[in-house]
Symmetry: C2
Subunit: 308 residues, 2 copies
């Protein structure tokens, strides 16, 4: 498991987490920068990295930083020394290096970030929330296949796919959106249904299982939901008329501090991307999600269910 930030807090929380963990079969490898103190538990292995991938690094620079925590962690994952990889590092760096070091699934050209979000019905899988900026219609089509394979692997057969757009008509949105709409409509799929464009305000009704979107827009979508949820929770907490129990219930749905991070889909191995501003608690949720993905053999299932 690797991270760039917030390393020190993570160490302490991970130590506590390991204490609570009944299943002692899990080892934790932490790839972190040099200025971090050693953990005191022998089932947590600290691997110090001498370089750091920065947000502004060009892809060519990222690939040359072979001593960064991102590179070392993904390399260990590729070699089978790790079962999964969790990071709060640079998204752009992660996408470049994972594509460089981990085998991609057949027909997939680039990995995408998938996040699940609550709706009035079942949770929806949103692809892509920031790995592909901008994304062409061809990439949007791959997101549909990946999102469908993900939901099928989670037990949702014949998932409905929606395209996040500013109106329901086929002519709405950018040229790439219109092309993606046309491509998705002409394909006769065996294992998923294209439901057309979905407006952002309709998403939370839960009428589709997968929402596909270009990475920039997907990221704005996710972060807006997070922002307005926090805004409402803030208002609720200041109000004497809301019960503590109800607040806790709503927080479970909406509090993104406990958010398990995004799944980097399209790779043969499990990679989880946590927010750069993740709390140690959020990071642990990401680690637990990775453990579950590994145990469930999620990547193998996605590969099997991916039809293109």
């Amino acid at each position: 498991m690797g991270c760039e930030t917030p390393e020190k807090v993570l160490f302490n929380t991970l130590l506590q987490h390991v204490d609570q963990h009944t299943d002692n079969s899990v080892d934790y490898y932490i790839f972190a920068s040099e200025n971090v103190t050693s953990p005191s538990r022998k089932d947590i292995v600290l691997i110090r990295s001498k370089e750091m991938v920065l947000h502004e690094d060009h892809p060519l620079i990222v690939c040359k930083k072979k001593q960064s925590s991102l590179y070392l962690g993904l390399q260990a994952l590729a070699k089978g020394q790790l079962d999964g990889f969790v990071t709060a590092g640079s998204t752009a760096g992660l996408v470049v290096l994972s594509k460089h070091l981990i085998p991609l699934l057949p027909t997939i050209e680039r990995p995408a970030l998938l996040a699940t979000m609550p709706t009035k019905k079942k949770p929806i899988a949103v692809v892509d929330i920031g790995a592909n900026v901008p994304a062409k219609s061809r990439a949007l089509l791959q997101f549909a296949h990946l999102g469908a394979a993900y939901q099928i692997s989670r037990g949702r057969l014949y998932p409905k796919i929606g395209l996040l757009n500013i109106g329901s008509e086929a002519v709405k949105g950018t040229l790439e959106m219109q092309n993606a709409y046309a491509l998705l409509q002409t394909i006769s799929e065996k294992n998923f249904i294209f439901s057309g464009n979905v407006e952002a305000k309709e998403v939370f009704n839960g009428d589709v299982d997968v929402l596909i979107t270009e990475g920039f827009v997907g990221n704005i979508f996710l972060k807006t939901a997070e922002g307005i949820a926090n805004f409402i929770l803030d208002k609720l907490e200041r109000s004497s008329s809301s019960s503590v129990l109800f607040l806790e219930e709503l927080k479970k749905y909406l509090h993104y501090g406990k958010y398990p991070g995004a799944f980097l889909i399209g790779l043969e191995k499990p990679v989880i991307k946590c927010h750069g501003y993740s709390s140690a608690e959020a990071f642990i949720t990401g680690v637990n999600a990775a453990i579950m993905d590994i145990k469930e053999k999620l990547c193998e299932k996605i590969k099997k269910n991916l039809t293109t």
Copy 2:
């Protein structure tokens, strides 16, 4: 005042609204398609149109539909026969026709849609929420000038301008975003401050007065906020632990049924765009907003405060 939909309901609500209106100086002109019954009050004038602007119409077609309600209404506004214009018709059609028929403010090349949204502090003005898809960096710069002039006209001197992006660093987002960032940073403005990139989750903290964004992204931003607000209100209403009073208060902030519509900024005359799915109630809120804008001479103030 003009509308395409929902005409019949609007009539009845407008009639009631006029009854309640103490100020009898306001006349209402309704430009509507042929299949609408006459209103029964003499201060409501019905003008039947023989054509209809459709969402899928090409701009050239839109300009040729001189008997559409959009064309007739905007033409009457341009001639001074109306003081303001409210519509729930096609956004693309409205932008094309308003640019064609109403004088633009100096240095402005295209109008933009401005919506105000609640935050933890003062409401924020979001430009553009769907009139410009896609928008170049040059347009984003004009949105900043327009948004600043709007807030100054509303009494918010030296407004802070934020660029909606997926991270705070100057290199984040699409090429157009990066160019807009560079342009905004190099300009030394007399009457507004550029605060840099703002992530969607930070917007609701209310640290900036104007949020600028390309139209597609702005529309997703607005509709996501609307969607998640409705989702939370739905959960609250199902919960026995929330008080009715508190729900009403929250709805005032978040219920987009009462949303006053968006202000089409950059024109010499007041134009309000309501959602295509506006309830009659939402439409009346739009009409009231237009009346207030006219009385406050908002367009004249914006023109005066616009520095480029």
